[in-house]
Symmetry: C2
Subunit: 430 residues, 2 copies
């Protein structure tokens, strides 16, 4: 992973950060790195995620999924961190095995998906650390029922990824399903490089060792200085820009294959740093498409944004045919990749020309190794940023209120939060 902070400097942009300020911040980075290393050494909650390049067990993953020979599709049933890692890897890497994710309880979407899937050739992975997540378990019950109705022996086509205890674990024991362990100390949004993200990749035939190799490379570059580690450069740069007013981080990959990555990043960043009134708001965008949508705002709206421009240096390309269409001859003989690169560089320069900060993140390729670098790098960036913000990076207490209220509304017990729902203030215009 390569990180270029040039267009985030105060000589280019406002908000922007000076080289001197980055050098001063580097003292805090050194101290944060010490804490991170201590947390990793003790495998403390959350920090343990940064050890996954060493602790993940690719053989165990493959052994668990090898019994499913030649599936046409893998269906991951999970939500949030139990779904986004697998979805990010699946959408980035092509495979003959289709990947589907059920990460919402929209009945129309569920019906449409189940109506189109060949369940007899689909492997189902139910993912929930607690084994009690309402959305995931509801969807799993619906999927299992659909398999039975289709005459498929669901016990032959299902595995679970869960914690040591809970209903999913007991289900696996009862029906002798393969069961992968969600590793201890690894919050969902940091679990892409564990069983949670890698099982579906293994089923789809990807080289999961290479994903971990890329992650390990990035781990080896963590050091006490942001000037020596791309991950820390990104985390410290984003933090410094937020301090100076860039409260929105618009993540803009120039690759359709990384569109889901932007979603994954948005969860990582929002749920880890959004607390105590702090935290940068991630906004998802896609280049070049969103040049025709969000760029006007990014260049000419409030000075409250940084843009993270992500691309791969190499890719498969496709020539643009020569044309006699008037005024368009300059396109012919060029390629779609050259056009995409020109738009990337033009957009980056256009932000700089308007004095708006951007950070460039590059990979060699969107392949297993590159993904490992990117996912690990951004996790380490986020952990560093959490240290700099001085927040509790690995918890998400603010979502509990709504979970209790929803459970109460569904008759799953008495919760005072459910009673508050009825007291809603109304000002309805119709």
């Amino acid at each position: 992973m390569y990180v270029d902070l040039g267009n985030a400097l105060s000589s280019v942009a406002s908000p922007g950060v000076s080289r001197e300020a980055l050098e001063r911040l580097d003292d805090d980075v050194a101290a944060a790195h010490e804490r991170i290393e201590a947390g990793r050494a003790d495998a403390d909650h959350g920090y343990a995620a940064l050890n996954l390049p060493e602790t993940a067990d690719p053989d165990a993953i493959r052994t668990a999924v090898d019994r499913f020979d030649d599936p046409a599709a893998i269906l991951t049933v999970g939500i949030g961190g139990s779904a986004l890692g697998a979805a990010t890897i699946a959408d980035a890497l092509e495979s003959g095995v289709d990947s589907y994710v059920l990460d919402n309880v929209d009945p129309e979407r569920v019906a449409s998906l189940l109506g189109s899937l060949d369940l007899s050739a689909t492997v189902v992975n139910a993912v929930s650390r607690s084994g009690t997540t309402a959305e995931t378990l509801s969807n799993f019950l619906v999927v299992r029922d659909a398999m039975e109705r289709a005459g498929v022996d669901w016990t032959e086509r299902t595995f679970v990824t869960t914690g040591e205890e809970g209903p999913l674990r007991r289900l696996a024991e009862k029906h002798d399903l393969p069961a992968l362990d969600v590793p201890a100390g690894v919050p969902g949004r940091f679990s892409a490089l564990s069983t949670v993200g890698l099982a579906s990749a293994a089923i789809r035939g990807h080289d999961i060792e290479a994903i971990l190799d890329g992650a390990r490379d990035e781990a080896n570059r963590l050091s006490g200085s942001l000037f020596e580690s791309p991950a820390y450069a990104y985390g410290a740069g984003a933090y410094a820009l937020d301090q100076r007013g860039a409260s929105v981080n618009a993540v803009m990959p120039y690759a359709e294959s990384l569109e889901t990555y932007a979603e994954w990043f948005a969860q990582l960043w929002a749920e880890s740093l959004g607390k105590d009134g702090l935290g940068q708001t991630p906004a998802r965008a896609l280049g070049a498409t969103d040049q025709h949508s969000q760029l006007q705002l990014y260049r000419a709206g409030p000075r409250d944004k940084m843009v993270t421009m992500v691309r791969a240096r190499e890719r498969e390309d496709r020539a643009i045919p020569e044309t006699d269409l008037e005024g368009l001859s300059y396109l012919g003989g060029s390629s779609l990749g050259e056009l995409l690169d020109a738009e990337f560089e033009a957009t980056e320069a256009s932000l700089a020309a308007a004095g708006r900060p951007s950070v460039r993140v590059e990979l060699d390729r969107v392949d297993e190794r590159g993904l490992g670098e990117l996912l690990y790098g951004m996790e380490a960036a986020c952990v560093l940023a959490g240290e700099l913000y001085n927040v509790d990076t690995f918890v998400q207490p603010a979502v509990e209120w709504g979970k209790r209220a929803a459970r109460g509304l569904l008759g799953g017990g008495r919760f005072e939060e459910a009673e508050a729902v009825a007291e809603k203030e109304r000002l309805v215009i119709e």
Copy 2:
């Protein structure tokens, strides 16, 4: 469309707006409504979009596309406002005719799509008002070439949607292709209810009159008071919240079918209002999924957000099977739709409990009429907000710099912007 501003009131949330402030703002709404009505009467640039329920010609659209009998798929080649309207309608409404959109110049995505499409059963719609948009024309040249290589007579499977002049218009004349007119005075992001958004809907068998009927209903409710028009209530409410610090508008539909709608809204809002240092930043989210991703930030991060909660009051539902899984019996006998509704109300209440503002937007159903109400309503809301911000809603000058730079980089002429690209400041960490 129903809009509920109750949870945006200062009695509930901070930032929030008092009823008294809304009443004072209503004077500005009345004045803005006068300007909007005058603009509509003269069919002035941009304001003309609000006349589409009367000026769009469904018969002309159907006549143009009727020659394509029984296609398996429609492929829209466009970008930004030339793609998002059609994509929004297609992703909201099911049809036996598949819809694909090429709105990016990613060569890997283009290759993957062309490799999987049966081009002999696909209708191609090339959409560009000017007929010169680099991304769209490049993709069209690639698609046309692929059709020829596949032995498909492209002139039998292609139509164009374009302005009165330009390369696409001349191409249509030369090859006798059906050509739909992009209406004058309608900017791309306001064109969903014109030929640009409706042609693909017509090919997919949707009732485009019903879409326009829904839009007309919403148009008939525009009046000089935000308390009488759902569209103006939304536009004025969002403006008032932004004034008070809600610089981010997180749009969170609780329906997978409206996921693309959030993208459409993001373009409408960002490109129309993001100028002169003003404009609210749209952030796309999806309920219930993003409760497990963004909600922590929305409830506990900076007080710089409003959340727009969107749902349909009715939908197809699916029962959750009874289960003997321990602790989950409360789910059995309920339905996915009830769970989704409980999560909607729980999340809304959880934001209110944390003093964070939200606005509820509801439709009766996600069907043709409901979509017409929603798209028209949000366009009118945006036009009103533009009047209140006092910006030039219908232009997007900030994107021109990058277009010239990209063109220069590709050898399409000498542009000083292209030269600026080479002067990039660098601070690379690798």
